[in-house]
């Protein structure tokens, strides 16, 4: 994690540092246990193939949690995530890069909160945005 980002330091259009993820099957099993989502398409290849998939797939909620990590690492230690989420538009598979990115779309002050809105997404190796979403964070001010 780099140093603290302050509200005054960022501009609309700025990208935030990219987070690269790459799930092993072990990570998918750890996620199943931690999240309580035991649907077999995420760890049982035969089961996944019987449902018409080519392989097991990464949980959508795990990709959403990756976007949570992307934002948390960017705003920490003093900033806070206020809202984040995504749509599950495309599949991602184990042992492939999942690049998590964000771009600032708005910054504004509300009361004593210094707020920043972003577009966030995960991208597969073909460049498709498999989990597009949005977020709102609060940042500390130098003021």
């Amino acid at each position: 994690m780099a140093g603290q980002v302050y509200y005054e330091d960022i501009q609309v259009g700025d990208p935030i540092p990219v987070l690269r993820k790459n799930c092993s099957t072990l990570q998918l099993v750890a996620w199943a246990g931690a999240s309580g989502d035991f649907y077999q398409i995420h760890y049982d290849v035969e089961f996944a193939r019987r449902t018409g998939l080519s392989n097991i797939i990464v949980h959508g909620a795990l990709k959403n949690a990756f976007l949570g990590q992307l934002l948390h690492d960017w705003v920490s230690p003093e900033g806070r995530i206020e809202k984040f989420g995504c749509q599950y538009r495309g599949m991602d598979y184990p042992d492939q890069d999942i690049m998590c990115s964000g771009v600032i779309t708005r910054k504004y002050v509300e009361g004593d909160r210094h707020l920043v809105e972003l577009d966030v997404w995960t991208e597969n190796p073909s460049g498709q945005k498999t989990s597009p979403g949005t977020a709102r964070v609060s940042l500390p001010s130098r003021g």
């Binding site: 931690a34 999240s35 949690a65 948390h72 206020e82 599950y88 979403g133």
Partner: protein, 157 residues
């Protein structure tokens, strides 16, 4: 456009709060979740690190609002989207958004209730589909404070 699948019975569920679910936010649960995601910030793992940053206890990582309390006599967990009587066999989780009102920390017990907020019928590449939008409110059990909301949708086709 095919005939609507949103019956009176379905429409009657709009805005009605479902049953309560109790979630325990434990230090172990926070660590398991953070580890599964790959978080490196000690605020999700270590109480002293979390308190040093101004939190009451280990911070629940983004997207973790505790583990639902499980009892062996309970019906099996309802798969997402299977709680409504929708005449389509398949369901996909369409997306999830979390909104935090207050930090959620280890030691919190949270009570959630979910309601259906909207039905949308569309025809797409996979044929006719029903999109169900839901909102879940999470309250701290001790004082009833709303700590978070979750907005989600499921796609039935």
């Amino acid at each position: 456009m095919t005939e609507s699948v949103v019956t009176e019975a379905l429409r009657a569920q709009l805005g009605v709060d479902g049953p309560e679910t109790v979630h325990e936010v434990t230090s172990t649960g926070c660590r398991m979740f953070a580890r599964a995601v790959g978080h490196t910030d000690l605020v999700f793992y270590d109480r002293d690190a979390a308190r040093h940053r101004g939190y009451r206890d280990i911070l629940a990582p983004p997207g973790y609002l505790g583990t639902p309390v499980y009892l062996p006599r309970m019906a099996g967990a309802v798969r997402v989207g299977k709680d409504l009587d929708v005449p389509y066999p398949r369901v996909l989780n369409g997306g999830t958004t979390y909104e935090y009102v207050e930090p959620v920390c280890a030691g919190d017990v949270i009570v959630s209730r979910t309601r259906t907020t909207e039905f949308q019928e569309r025809t797409g590449s996979i044929g006719p589909m029903l999109i169900v939008f839901r909102e879940t409110t999470y309250r701290r059990q001790t004082d009833g404070t709303v700590v978070a909301r979750m907005y989600g949708n499921t796609i039935h086709y």
